[in-house]
Symmetry: D2
Subunit: 150 residues, 4 copies
């Protein structure tokens, strides 16, 4: 895992009729985190972040219930399996270390496979070398899933 994280605010409406942040909304929080991370990781280079990256796959495990509060959740993020045309992002959604709630609680772990795509030619495209270098510098290990099927 890299040290990189994004603090993502919740919305009251993220809760469902059970009074917990809905399982689908966790994916929405990950989307918000990616927007910030890709901006941080690639700066003004919009070739990656804009319209050239497709989500090909998600895997997520829910580990503890989360209820709305005004304080954001912390989403640790790192890269994995960088290939010429794709990469994976790992996530850990957790309570910040200094929180006045139960610190370090892990609410969910997840990973996303992203594919670089050229919308004009409608084909996968190759990663520029400096993009690969950036992604490598945020590299981390496998997501420690508990229930992954094998």
């Amino acid at each position: 895992m890299s040290d990189y994280f994004v603090d993502v605010p919740l919305r009251w409406s993220d809760m469902d009729a059970y009074g917990h942040v809905n399982n689908v909304q966790f994916l929405r929080l990950l989307e918000d985190a990616r927007v910030v991370a890709f901006s941080d990781w690639f700066g003004q280079d919009r070739s990656l972040v804009d319209e050239g990256v497709l989500v090909a796959r998600h895997e997520i495990e829910y580990l503890a219930p989360l209820t709305f509060r005004q304080a954001p959740v912390r989403i640790g993020m790192w890269t994995m399996r960088i290939t010429p045309a794709s990469f994976d992002v790992g996530y850990e959604v957790r309570e910040p270390a200094g929180s006045d709630r139960t610190p370090d609680t892990v609410y969910a772990r997840a990973e996303t496979t992203l594919v670089l795509y050229d919308f004009e030619t409608a084909r996968p495209r190759r990663m520029a070398p400096h993009v690969k270098d950036n992604l490598l510098s945020f590299g981390g290990g496998e997501v420690p899933f508990r229930w992954r099927r094998r």
Copy 2:
């Protein structure tokens, strides 16, 4: 795969700024399909469907872009790995066979792990025998994921 399916309507707002049904919204469509399926599968027995089932895990692959239309998408569903306190659901989001769009297109495949839970004691609970029988009658094989990590 069982023959069971649910036709789930899209909403215009399921599309994101790229003009496609957003990857997160696919999980929302699966939630809608589960609500219908659990009602069909368990009828008036609300012990399973109501507050006694937690989502523990999702895995999803996106195979073709989907744009909004008034016609619903068809979501095939089946059960897998039934244990005393949990079961998995497999899904295939596809174009119906007789559609005037490209018939049989598979937009996504997914699976969800569900855990039976007793909210009063805050502990997992055991499946009643008739519930297990019902789930078994909708049993099917493994989801043919392309990119599952091993």
Copy 3:
């Protein structure tokens, strides 16, 4: 009020932590109803429905709580105040007359002001005569708001 209506399905996720369809989601249901109505009212003439209509204003009153069920709600719709470049739509969100719930319950009343817009020139645009004729044929009276400010 015209006799026109659209039956709009709910989603389980339309409910909020209070267990009712959230007040904001009612506007989402109205959006779904407009998509169907504009398609019905204008058929293949996409000049109105596609990218040429902006929402300028909403007003909505909530009259009875609504909880999720698989059956759709019925949304009566009619047009008002048709001008060369704008028109209003009135709505009544209600239980269908033959429902096995409390028939004819009115959950909400609302109206929306829509402005015709030319995205290429970034200016309002004028309504074609046949569009005006169509809109007039679905004309109705003022929304009977209880609490409108004057």
Copy 4:
């Protein structure tokens, strides 16, 4: 208008297929602002904020298109028409004065009518004197709607 405001973060998913923050999502932003405001205005007194306030009415006008950015929008808020069992909130969604976008742009103006409600007895309830005093201290004038129907 009072000087009170809440800065509300956007989500990338607030944009619709037109690439603008969707008109319905503006109501979602107002909901987020109310959650923060009610907490600020009433502190630990949860009698108002928790389950005792119902939304009875919204009115909103859209004045300028808003696209996603990481910076929050500023929502000015004030109270109006305080009665023993209800009050209105006015809002102005705007670009902060010092923004590097077009400062002071007003994206939308809105108002919400809120009714105090006792969920146990299922009846409206009366406002405690200190709640009324708090609400009065954030009092402001009428929302300057352009298109309000009369």
